[in-house]
Symmetry: C2
Subunit: 349 residues, 2 copies
DNA sequence: GTTAGCACTCAACAAAAGGGAGTGCTAACA
DNA sequence: TGTTAGCACTCCCTTTTGTTGAGTGCTAAC
């Protein structure tokens, strides 16, 4: 069977109506509140066809219709295709102003972003901190904080900083520390983790003149700083409790599953790194129901967007909501936020 | 009316039974499953007295009894008094072993602790990172990371580290930076935030020889590092979704309220800093129902314990669960965890 | 191809009925 | 005087039975 223009319109009307009410949509409703001038009987015939095509279903006989995952898929794909890339730049609620002020800390910004997103959409939001594709070492600073304790500060490309305090057996003079600093910086700067091989390490330890212990510990710190595994991907979330707004998600077992994912965050990694790198529709991915890589979210839809701050610095923003979420608004909001991230960090860094 | 031994036993039996089942407890149940050899009729008489005393209530006529907040209060107070301080050291589930391995980072440890707590008790848990009562500056390190960007590392008593990268207009030579380092360290080390007054600041800027801009920015960084307001108290939580295990808390509006508190964390500050400093029953505080300072938790009970790592380094651990929580186990578990924190950090730092 | 009309289905709500857990009270007993 | 058996009573909970109404599918007429 063919999906003609009229059927599309009816499907859209059903989706929009279901979005608002959360209730199955009947033929009379469509007949009255859509621009097509058709009687409910005609709509019924069309709906019957749409059901046969697998785009809508009845929860039970004598109920209205609700969209299936396939129905949503069709809708979303069509929407993404026709989306005017620059129109519809959402105005975010006022909170976004406040945000600009205190962008002193990346962490603060991202937390705030997540909050704004959740507040604006009434869905749950998540943001992964940017990850460095090429983690070049930029700077190492060794200094003494106590008699036998040294502080190693490791700065990586993109100004990510890691500190480690460690104990050393041997007693180091100020000069020792100075020359170690010089040694480390001249030998390691600009290198990625792959480039710091055994050869370099051995050479370093030779030149360190006996202070192999310190060098070893510093290297450990360095390794940790530029390591780049999913394990410690920072994720900020907000508005997980928004799911209680949607009756279809708020029964306790479903809600528990979803909120748990947000609480433990680990599983969110799958969502946020899933399509990293792939250039899709402006970096925007939509997962509907079972399409999501996280099983516990099979009753939800997830929209993610990849942001790129340049310098190989990229992360992902995501929104989780009911399958009947307002995809259009969500996509627009994500685009707006990405735009904001852009200007904020282009200006700053 | 007087609360004799037998009444106490009956109250205890009711509380224990209600703890397990979550259902109102009837007289026949007590008569059968307690060591007192009494008929249900006698129990009924006693229960009637207990109700008159406000220690138990009937949800409705012809239902069993459940403890009131006052009833719990009595029970808990008695329990805390007679608790053998060293017996009952809970064995925590195996997970606590794993914990010892990777205590490389305080943050990791606390997160893990929270998890273990939640896992062991099946309630929600929260831990505040230790706060420094006397925030003495220990060490400042200034270094250049880019042409016009400096990195300031500020170490505070207790080895808390803060980094800031900032831009400077003027061009500084290596020697400038070295002497600034010296200047800052000799003048500021060992001082608290109160002690860094305008006098010192002016003196510093004078001696800085024109580099007032840098000094100013470093001082901002210092201020932020040793600032000690509730705003940025780090709180780690786990197991918020455990509340769904308890039917009396898992209807969506209640669950939403509670989980929201855990998600936003801000309100938890009130709970975790409420009795900081006061030395109660081994630092353990029990809030039953409305006693809690957080309104949204009026249907819960909260048990908190203050840990002290020495050096004025203290924080709080807390457990949130239904009013019928197993207070005894919770208190014991908290004591065990505090013991672990003790050994772990005494050994380390 | 569209529409009015009609019989039919079924969730949702409400009222009625039965069951059962638990109580309070009374009277008898040790 | 404290304890207990017995009994009537209460009230929640569950099941049953209607009742309503939204919505459908089908048929026949336009």
């Amino acid at each position: 069977m063919e999906l003609d223009e009229r059927k599309k319109k009816i499907l859209n009307a059903i989706i929009r109506n279901y979005q608002e009410t959360g209730e199955p949509v009947g033929s009379r409703t469509i007949s009255k509140y859509s621009d097509l001038q058709l009687s409910s009987a005609t709509i019924r015939n069309e709906m019957s066809d749409l059901e046969e095509m697998g785009l809508i279903v009845q929860p039970h006989t004598s109920a209205g219709r609700i969209p299936t995952d396939r129905g949503y898929r069709l809708y979303v794909d069509h929407m993404l295709e026709t989306a005017d890339r620059d129109t519809g730049r959402q105005e975010l609620a006022e909170t976004s102003e406040f945000l600009i002020d205190r962008m002193d800390r990346m962490e603060q910004v991202l937390k705030q972003m997540a909050k704004v997103l959740a507040l604006n959409t009434n869905y749950a939001s998540m943001i992964s901190a940017p990850r460095y594709n090429r983690n070049k070492l930029k700077f190492i600073q060794l200094s003494r904080v106590e008699e036998h304790k040294l502080l190693a500060v490791v700065v990586v490309e993109g100004n990510l900083i890691k500190n480690t305090i460690f104990e050393v057996e041997e007693k180091l003079s100020e000069e020792d520390i100075l020359s170690l600093n010089l040694l480390l910086n001249t030998n390691l700067n600009g290198l990625t983790i792959e480039e710091i091989n055994l050869g370099i390490i051995t050479k370093l330890k030779e030149q360190a003149g006996g202070h192999t212990e310190v060098v070893g510990k510093v290297l450990d710190a360095v390794a940790e700083a530029i390591r780049n595994d999913d394990e410690d991907l920072q994720i900020y979330t907000s508005g997980a409790t928004n799911i209680f707004r949607y009756p279809e998600l708020s029964d306790s077992s479903k809600a528990k599953e979803i909120i748990q994912v947000f609480e433990e965050k680990k599983q969110l990694t799958n969502l946020l790194t899933d399509k990293l790198g792939e250039e899709g529709q402006q970096g925007i991915q939509v997962y509907i129901g079972n399409e999501t890589p996280v099983q516990s979210m099979k009753d939800c839809s997830v929209v993610t967007a990849t942001y790129d701050l340049g310098d190989g610095l990229q992360g992902t923003i995501g929104i989780v909501g009911p399958k009947r979420m307002d995809y259009e608004k969500v996509v627009q909001t994500l685009q707006t936020v990405m735009g904001q991230l852009d200007t904020m960090f282009k200006k700053e860094e």
